[in-house]
């Protein structure tokens, strides 16, 4: 059943490829149906997941290349189920934005479905080969999607993003190959590797140089400072649904791989470098926060803001306590939804005005109340206000990291203050104040189809904000199993 999560979007991509490009209504329906199916399936899996049991569930395996120990194994534990849920929400909401494309719709939707399927592939596969294969498959659609349908500086942004992420990816590919070779199991199976390496860890010296290779390699896509510079430029250039998927979900692959590979398989090496990771993460929080204050372009601001938020995620990883890791996964979910919602809202406004300067607008909350109020809500979520899942996530990270890096937590809390500065300023100048007469024809989201993506995402933020246990009950035991402790 888990195979279907990625297979259905891929089949939808194939169906789109075979549909004539002038049947736009059909193309849109296929895209929505493809992402919608996986969305519903994820909800079913989320409901059916047995929370009383540790370890992977819904596991199935197909031998793929037996001579190399590669099999296409899928399965879910609390961590990747949470991330699948994140992707299900964002990709389904993003599809509603993607179908609004007018230029070369067929090609765009084809790439969108390939991207969506590959992300499901990453979050369901339990074999390092397939994890990496799907991870790099996301690169195929990204370059043309940003390059063709993007906006400001799109060629530069697309190339920079692709090259940065590829460099990180091949670095980590080398790390993964070294790891599999050194483990000596002749197997790429993640569960088997985790079991074996927890029982008999690799030598300390090997871990010490392998862990930074993995962390830096996947740190690029997690926008670990100072490897983050592709991120604001790339997001500013990308079309709305790509920004949503990339900032919301793709970026979370970095921490996900670091959790699964560095923390779980190379704990000694990761612990050895954890203070350095904490320093980089904290620098990222503050640096990107200050950079966000100075941005005039809303998308750049949110891009830097996402770098800053990823700093919290990485700080939680650096602390390596069960509480902080739980908070990390929770924040990956929370930030993903929030970032996607923000980019969707900015996209909504940009689509009509072709402006997205922080100072270009005013009084949107009065003029287009639904979008305006949504913007206020996601900004408050981004601030980590109680009532949103972001609050629970950040608090868990702070509590979990306090014992190891009190100084970093202090600086990170200060980082929230910086976040408040740029977000409240943006909210004030975009949503309140006098209405800018230039945009008097601005339309609000009116029909349910138009409102649906925003309702979905903000709803998720609030539902899990009031009931974070729905997620922590999943994530906690999985994190405990990851670090080899008892749940």
């Amino acid at each position: 059943m888990v195979y279907a999560l990625s297979a259905v979007p891929f089949l939808a991509a194939l169906a789109i490829l075979l549909t004539p490009s002038d049947r736009t209504a059909l193309l849109r329906r296929i895209a929505l149906a493809g992402t919608g199916f996986s969305f519903v399936l994820t909800l079913v899996l989320f409901a059916a997941f047995d929370r009383s049991r540790a370890g992977f569930q819904f596991v199935s395996s197909v031998p793929w290349i037996p001579s190399l120990g590669i099999s296409y194994t899928v399965g879910l534990d609390g961590i990747n189920l949470t991330l699948c849920l994140l992707h299900a929400l964002v990709s389904f909401a993003g599809a509603f934005m993607a179908v609004r494309t007018t230029d070369r719709l067929k090609t765009y939707l084809f790439f969108y479905m390939v991207l969506s399927g590959a992300i499901y592939g990453v979050f369901t596969a339990l074999d390092l080969f397939f994890l990496y294969l799907f991870y790099e498959t996301t690169l195929i659609p990204l370059y043309p999607m940003i390059g063709i349908w993007g906006s400001k500086n799109k060629e530069y942004g697309a190339m920079k993003l692709t090259l940065f992420i590829t460099t990180g990816a091949v670095l980590s590919l080398f790390g993964l190959l070294m790891l599999v070779h050194s483990a000596g199991l002749n197997s790429f199976d993640l569960a088997a590797l985790t079991r074996a390496l927890q029982a008999a860890p690799l030598s300390d010296s090997l871990q010490r140089w392998l862990a930074p290779v993995i962390v830096l390699g996947f740190g690029v896509i997690a926008s670990l400072w100072p490897l983050h510079s592709w991120s604001p430029i790339g997001y500013a250039a990308a079309p709305t649904s790509v920004s949503m998927l990339h900032a919301g979900v793709l970026k979370k692959m970095g921490p996900y791989f670091i959790l699964r590979v560095a923390v779980a398989l190379l704990p000694l090496g990761t612990a050895h470098w954890s203070s350095w990771l904490a320093i980089l993460a904290t620098t990222g929080i503050l640096y990107a926060g200050y950079a966000a204050i100075r941005q005039r372009d809303l998308k750049f601001m949110v891009g830097f803001s996402s770098v800053s938020h990823m700093g919290y995620v990485l700080l939680g990883i650096a602390a390596m306590t069960q509480t902080s890791l739980t908070g990390t996964v929770l924040l990956m979910f929370a930030h993903g939804i929030m970032a996607a919602a923000t980019f969707a809202l900015i996209g909504w406004i940009y689509e009509q005005t072709h402006a997205r300067g922080v100072l270009d607008f005013g009084g949107l909350a009065k003029q287009i109340p639904f979008v305006g109020v949504s913007f206020v809500l996601v900004s408050l979520a981004s601030l980590g206000l109680p009532g949103f899942v972001n609050f629970a996530a950040e608090l868990t990270i702070f509590v979990g990291s306090w014992t190891r890096f009190p100084w970093a937590v202090a600086l990170a809390v200060f980082g929230i203050l910086i976040t408040a500065i740029y977000l409240l300023r943006a909210v004030q100048s975009v949503c309140y104040g006098p209405v800018n007469p230039r945009w008097k024809d601005l339309k609000d989201a009116q029909t349910l189809t138009e409102k649906w993506p925003f309702l979905l995402l903000i709803g998720a933020l609030i539902v899990f904000g009031f009931y974070p246990r729905a997620l922590t009950a999943l994530v906690g035991p999985a994190v405990a199993a990851l670090t080899g402790g008892q749940p």
Partner: protein, 475 residues
């Protein structure tokens, strides 16, 4: 001495076809005979079918000079399939260039026959003679465009440097003969087992590697590549990139594993260093290119670097990785060069600037080229990714971790120049917005090639198993 002529059936068919083509061409006189391409295509299909029946056999002919094992069969299938796809590319080499176009197919077919004997030879003399058949055919084909200065220059360059490489090779064979007194693989291998440190043998081997490194386009024998790739007619460039390189790799692989299996440590060092240099040179020199065929010349050098990395690792992981790499490399290059041929004919030049807005002028060509380029860059789920994965994994497993890291990082560099072409095709608007018409059969075959890349990249196991089965020296 047994003759065992039956196992030469593919060669007999090829020779028969050659005879028919030659007779028809001579008897009919200037321009009247138009059947050579059709005969060649039909024969290549027949040969492919015949070869499938020879799978899994290992027999010898001419007292062991000629062998038909899985290794030879696999390479013959690859080469014949390559020719099958290259023949339709030659449509443009018509009378406009002042030559008898039908004669071109004769030369092309002769090169194929030379390669057939090359991958089957287990005797240094047969190896040298068949290699010369291939090389001589390529001299003629490279200089085929009599009125193009670039083509003549390329032919001359290839002739001079190619003769030098042949001289190295034959000198190496001579040294080995001096030391061991034998030219058959078996006898030389036996002598080398008994005297693994004979200096003349090693020196001879080094000379042979130099000669074959020329075919593979490995640094420091790569000097001819960019000019010849640029100047030769595009189908010939395709055949050079695909056929000549594969044949060189095949011979090197067979000689190293069957004749000099004990030469392992120095081999790792030598090929490791060559691989690093080749990767570095090919990838970085490709960056500033403005001519697409020149770019592919450097890209071909870069790919030689990965092949050398696989050769450094040795059997079985390295060798099987090399075989899979070629299986992935051949369709990607065929697809790419076919697009280059068609775009070149439509725009009259091979500048990368002519690819501006290709996605609007011909979506099919752009999509196929996109797939081929990404496969060459090694992006999953395409064939090139798994090929590079195998090579890097083999390097890691053989203790060449640093080289693997180097090769992995250069993937990112190569992605830059491949994506620059994609940028031209998809992101820029065409200067000349006229559509490029692609006939249906061409379109179908191009899609087949692109689909093959996807197939090899995602359902890897059967092809990898075939590569493992085809390792030289196993049967």
């Amino acid at each position: 001495m047994t003759l065992n002529l039956g196992i030469l059936l593919p060669e007999w068919i090829a020779l028969g076809a050659l005879l028919v083509m030659l007779t028809g061409e001579i008897v009919s006189g200037q321009g009247a005979w138009r059947w050579n391409r059709a005969i060649a295509r039909a024969s290549s299909v027949v040969i492919l079918i015949v070869l499938l029946f020879f799978k899994g056999t290992k027999t010898q002919a001419f007292g062991g000079m000629f062998v038909l094992d899985s290794f030879a069969v696999t390479f013959k299938i690859l080469l014949t399939a390559a020719v099958f796809f290259i023949l339709p590319m030659c449509r443009g080499l018509g009378a406009a260039h002042g030559n008898r176009p039908e004669a071109f197919h004769l030369v092309l077919w002769t090169a194929l026959i030379g390669m057939f004997f090359l991958v089957s030879s287990r005797d240094f003399l047969l190896l040298f003679v068949s290699l010369e058949i291939v090389t001589l055919s390529f001299y003629i084909m490279t200089a085929w465009l009599k009125r193009s200065l670039l083509s003549i220059e390329a032919g001359l360059k290839y002739l001079v440097l190619g003769s030098l490489a042949s001289a190295f090779l034959v000198f190496g064979i001579g040294l080995v003969y001096t030391a061991s007194g034998a030219v058959t693989f078996e006898a030389v291998a036996a002598f080398f087992r008994a005297n693994p440190r004979a200096p003349l043998m090693i020196l001879g081997l080094l000379f042979m590697i130099s000669g074959l490194g020329f075919k593979m386009a490995a640094v420091p024998f790569q000097l001819w590549v960019p000019d010849v790739y640029q100047g030769a007619p595009t189908p010939v460039t395709a055949f050079l990139a695909v056929g000549s390189k594969s044949a060189g790799v095949a011979v090197l692989l067979r000689v190293l594993t069957e004749v000099f299996p004990g030469w392992a440590d120095q081999r790792m060092l030598l090929f490791g260093v060559l691989s690093a240099l080749t990767l570095l040179y090919g990838n970085f020199a490709a960056l500033p290119q403005t001519n697409i065929k020149r770019l592919f010349g450097y890209s071909s050098i870069a790919h030689a670097g990965y092949l050398l990395m696989g050769l450094a690792c040795g059997a079985p992981q390295g060798s099987s990785a090399v075989l899979f790499y070629l299986m992935a490399y051949i369709p990607a290059n065929l697809a790419a060069f076919w697009v280059i041929t068609l775009v070149g004919e439509a725009s009259g030049n091979d500048e990368i600037a002519s690819y501006r807005g290709l996605a609007r002028r011909s979506p099919v060509l752009a999509a196929v080229f996109f797939t081929a380029l990404l496969s060459l860059a090694g992006v999953p789920p395409l064939a090139g990714f798994f090929a590079k994965f195998l090579i890097l994994f083999a390097a890691v497993r053989s203790g060449l971790g640093a080289l693997a890291l180097f090769g992995a990082l250069l993937v990112a560099v190569s992605l830059f120049y491949y994506l620059s072409i994609v940028r031209r095709m998809y992101l820029e608007e065409p200067e000349n917005p006229s559509k490029i018409e692609v006939p249906f059969d061409t379109r179908a075959l191009l899609v087949v090639l692109a689909a093959a890349l996807l197939l090899l990249g995602f359902i890897q196991a059967p092809f990898l198993a075939q590569a493992v089965r085809s390792l030289p020296g196993l049967g």
